[in-house]
Assembly symmetry: C3
Homo-oligomer: 353 residues x 3
């Protein structure tokens, strides 16, 4: 696809080579995202951050990405556009915002609402999550993390084995990530979920159609034993029709360090889209793993910045101008971001392969 | 008036030549507002955006304007200053904010509150709307739109014929625009409203005193037939004492393409302060006009940016330094902002006069 | 202490020489804070402003400070991290934000919460107030104001006499300021409070242990008569178990111009952390003093900017690079910020000593 001027609404719009394009730009963003270099390539540009659903981390991640490119951000975090309450159409809202901003990021609880916004304007729109629908930048940063953490290049994602654990029924991020992974050959999926929270059949069938191997099991220990990546999810209480039903499944699976060491192959990468539920009743991915070098969950979150920078640069067509305003970072950046980090910021565990 | 260091609180403060000053600076802002050029003239300056009433579009328009000049914006969108709830005077609030910001924009539901803020400080204050009171930047961008869309220069506004349609009783924007237009000679106003929502007599009397021709009618078709501009308004439900009364008038007038083509002279400019109420029960300016080149409503909204940039530049006294930091825009800007736009961004319909 | 990479969580962490370091950097920030010069030393850096408790002025003050250093700010003003509601640990929240931002400022209603955040990450965290706990930047700007307004240098704070008036029981700012002042020798404290709102014994005992002279009285007139500084506080209604009890004490002490002139020595500096309660029932520091040159309360608020700039510069290690990107301010800055200011912005009353 031609990224310049495009909307980023769904993972469905990407072909395998588009992923390659995004990731190669994201890699060139790493020095800025990791605060070794500064670029000001988008100085003067304005991003509109329209968050109709609260999501501090996603909003700040987008804003930081745009700021790290030199641009300015205007954020809206209210739950409703007052003007929409006054009967304004999505077309009008979108067209007016397009007059102010060079790119819009929107998060909205209603599936399909971002597509409607994008259909109204030629100013690029990026989907920051539309309820049970899509969250394409999360899927991209997940896949980027898989690639980096397993020490593969994109073509080497063929043959990947990944386990997905937990609420596979309502977990938007696993749905999108499986779609992206289905662009690659010979991927093996191990879906570990209680029967009621199984991966929807429409998704697992489609994966099989595309040639993937799909195993489904309720058995956590067995499912973990022969994969490259374990992707753990939170019980999506907010998507349950009866929220108290979520209690039944919270705590159903819980991976801690002992279990990891007993059942996983050395080097198995642990991922989670965050937030993880650390209440004792849930604890799907125990904090006793925090010091483990293969716990990739924070590096995964960090990867949101270079991925979102790459998308901004691509849709605004500045990906080849980054170096023109480049200089070294002149302020203090800690070697490790978290006090329990075992690796320096931007570094990956070494695999003996 | 001397703009440097001035507050912009009411349209009443402008003489005819002041309008000329603002519009000539706004014109010089067009290359930045239309994202052909970047200026960084206010790099280092800080705007405080104090929005005690929700208004995403007005807030983002001011912020984008300040960002496009190179400055930074701090926005407050809460409904109440916690400190005001603790018994703080407006003087104290204003004086403290003046210590942080170079210019303040405030929107507040109480008429007169912006004047009170402005009276407290020498840091310039711009009124972003004070309830049923004033919204001077809207009136300025409206007049700027009238001038540009009718292909006139300011002196040629003498003799203009304008129809105003809908809720002329509560519509703050039409009140302010009539005041600005009364600075010009031989203006003809056609006020089209149901009897209960007529233009207040104090306003129409004053217009007549100043030499304007004022027609009042309930007949939409007749009122549209011989004017240069039709300015349509939304029923201001939120200003009605009994909001259900608003239902009686919503949908009372509805202008669509068929009606426009039947009753308006070719070239008649269609304006609306937005949001327009697109619910079938209202639809005061139908979306079937979206593809019409004389539908100026989105260009009108776009004009908010150069007008607000001009006011910031004037009150901060930098209007003659714009070019010093100027460079070309290096990112993608679509030719047309909306998918239903019929004209390129920044272009106007051609009139055969 | 070594500031680079440090958290600023409590006034307890400062030794006397640290105060000297902060104030000497703050002094070098004055030209930027007073808008005579621009520096862009932190261009490209991102501050995260996490305000879980509403505090417009503190938030805008931090944001303005970071912007005046050239950096960008992402603000969160919601009352809850949605992710914390989903069971996320403070560690996870902190670590994720550290991936986006170069420095975090947090305000939170729960005492100790900022320390918990700081314990999780190596990215510097600055306490913007944790409920009844600490508000170290307020204490620092208060002490900086004492120093500047009394025309002393830091070593000359030895021997200072200060009266503190009002709600000394719940007033967080007086607790922190006394701790900072106890670093100096021979300081005399006059605590003027109704018996029920006395300075907690643990604080006054500790002051005496450290060699300070402590007088406690309910008599306002007598307490004011022989001090260098009078620090007035508001009744902290929101900290009372039974808020209606606050009414009993509101208005208990009220200092106006007549009282000041009758009881205070010429040159006695009047301070207040703001907001002051200007309702007739409270009026602890009357607005009839607004024109008085020794009313330092707004200069005190203004001092928040250079102090916060100094802390940002120190924890990010750029305090020696300020001048590299320095230039003159090119926009209009009023000589006096408030219409009732008697002194030019940045100027101090002259003392005949």
């Amino acid at each position: 696809m031609d990224f310049k001027g495009s909307h980023i609404v769904s993972v469905e719009q990407f072909a395998r080579q588009d992923i390659g394009t995004i990731f190669s730009v994201a890699e060139r963003m790493e020095p800025y995202a990791q605060r070794r270099k500064v670029t000001r390539v988008l100085e003067g540009a304005v991003e509109g951050n329209l968050f109709f659903e609260p999501s501090t981390r996603t909003r700040v991640s987008f804003a930081a990405a745009f700021n790290r490119l030199g641009g300015s951000v205007s954020s809206t975090t209210g739950f409703q556009f007052s003007s929409m309450a006054k009967g304004e159409s999505v077309y009008d809202t979108a067209r007016v915002m397009a007059g102010y901003c060079d790119v819009l990021v929107m998060r909205h609880p209603v599936e399909g609402s971002i597509q409607e916004l994008a259909d109204a304007i030629h100013v690029p729109v990026i989907n920051g999550g539309d309820g049970p629908g899509e969250h394409p930048t999360q899927a991209l940063l997940d896949l980027y993390t898989v690639q980096k953490e397993t020490g593969r290049d994109l073509s080497a994602l063929d043959g990947l084995k990944i386990a997905m654990v937990g609420d596979l029924r309502y977990g938007r991020t696993v749905h999108s990530l499986t779609k992206l992974l289905s662009l690659f050959d010979d991927v093996t999926f191990v879906f570990i979920a209680p029967d009621e929270l199984r991966m929807p059949t429409r998704i697992s069938s489609k994966l099989r159609e595309r040639g993937a191997v799909v195993h489904e099991t309720e058995d956590l220990a067995g499912g973990l034993s022969d994969v490259d990546v374990v992707y753990v999810t939170r019980i999506q209480q907010e998507r349950f029709t009866a929220p108290e039903d979520a209690d039944k499944y919270r705590g159903f699976y819980s991976i801690n360090r002992a279990m990891y060491e007993k059942h996983c192959r050395p080097g198995t990468v642990l991922m989670h889209p965050l937030p993880r539920d650390s209440r004792p009743s849930a604890d799907e991915l125990s904090s006793d793993l925090n010091g483990h070098p293969e716990l990739a969950i924070f590096r995964q979150a960090d990867n949101g910045v270079p991925i979102r920078m790459a998308l901004f640069a691509l849709v605004l067509g500045v990906e080849d101008q980054l170096e023109e305003t480049e200089r070294d970072v002149n302020w203090y950046v800690p070697k490790r971001l978290g006090t329990q980090d075992t690796l320096d910021f931007g570094k990956l565990p070494t695999h003996n392969e």
